[in-house]
Symmetry: C2
Subunit: 264 residues, 2 copies
Amino acid sequence: MGLGEIVNGLLTPRERMVWEASLARNVRDFGKGSDLAREGDRPTALRVVLSGWAQKYKQLPNGRRQILGLVLPGELCDLDLFTVGRADHSIAAVRRLSVAEIGRSEAQRLFEQCPNLSPALCWAEIIGAAVQREWTINIGQRNALERVAQLLCEIYVRQHGVPFEGGGACDFLLTQGQMAEAMGLTQVHVNRIVQQLRMRCAVELRNMRLEIPDFEQLAALASFNATYLHLGEAPALADRARMLFAVEADRPERPADGGISPAL
Amino acid sequence: MGLGEIVNGLLTPRERMVWEASLARNVRDFGKGSDLAREGDRPTALRVVLSGWAQKYKQLPNGRRQILGLVLPGELCDLDLFTVGRADHSIAAVRRLSVAEIGRSEAQRLFEQCPNLSPALCWAEIIGAAVQREWTINIGQRNALERVAQLLCEIYVRQHGVPFEGGGACDFLLTQGQMAEAMGLTQVHVNRIVQQLRMRCAVELRNMRLEIPDFEQLAALASFNATYLHLGEAPALADRARMLFAVEADRPERPADGGISPAL
DNA sequence: CGCGACGTTGACCTACCTCAATTGGCGTGG
DNA sequence: CCACGCCAATTGAGGTAGGTCAACGTCGCG
């Protein structure tokens, strides 16, 4: 299973209903490239991506832009965009995007109704920080081929988890230009790298789809190690997060995994 | 005032006493370069740097290493190193270092005794994430001169805040080699950049001290913008963080700033 | 059919890397 | 007080990964 569905897994069935009902009540759509929030804004809403991808980014005075991270369906667009006084980065739709925007007062109510919600969101933040670290090392220390391969691995795993064997396919909504902005490269150079990966039969990438015939091979090219995504640690992690919160009673009855949409 | 002292400012005087007593009871020293925690470890303690600097880092299979961030005196060494099942990065002493290590059970007790502690630590995490983002953009989009200048600005501001006018001096414990590992550059190249900065009279850097004659000038070279550090937002931010926690009553009586060590 | 967005290509360039040697400061032991 | 060794800073020469610029191709869409 991907990263997105896991937050749900940390809620009791009842909490999950409340949460999902709230999401459904607050849907909002954005066109490609339009901003959900801009650097310097006073943040007002908790946002969850429902479909499409969002990109966190930051602009330098010289016009260059760095994509800081991606928000895939089911994932939270930064808790801090909600917590902080002024947003320190922007967030925009990669392509057509639909999100749930939960205002401050409704969020407050949700937190009270769903004691497991705070820890779950906190978990999401912690994973977000881990991913951010991995991007830093990726850009800082890997060459272009490794960077791109790493990005593809991460995107795949965040959607479907690590494939047991062989490979698989998943959505991939970035243009090569956006990949370049994410990895600190040029569009031109990304293009050449992608071709190289194609020639090596490591990936097929077109029509917003990513196919990975042999995940192990690609992971090896990237020195990809999925542990930073902390897959499967969600329950333990949320338990610990709960320690930070008052929440001690009323733990979820470890909801059966049956309800969660299966991988691939 | 720097980033470090602020956590204290979020606690009531009583909480602060309890917290600082606990820190004082759990001091531990490390020699230059020795690891406080290694990637893959099962984390067991909450760590706060008391004196010296710590570096978060990650090693690639090919031997290259990226410094992901620095922990300055008074700052927390990653809440997630405490929360997560397995650490996804290592942390080591930059030079001689002394930290407080608070075990899980004592931490639990502290959280109960000090309701403002969780939000304060949560605040620290959020700032940490913002800093991580800034490093990503720094490495991804800036050239070597800007990167180094940005690092110097950040280090200064995290210790003393933005100087009102002119400049100032602060500790700077990194070697040029470590600066290189932090910024995704080479030791040799960092050296050349530092010389360039010296020639431009933008900084003086030696003997573990950093002198900035004209902060504005250096900031301009780096396109440095301190807002990502969210200085001065701590109280507001912690208020919001409190919303995530049960804590509603028992807010600190906005402790007077008098108790906090003054800047510079 | 024409336009816009994306991908692709080629020629050339440069910021930064690599390797390797040298210098200087400092602590330690004699 | 000096000699040695270590570590960090410095310098030089030469190499390359990736950037820049400028076309051109291609596909989908109004």
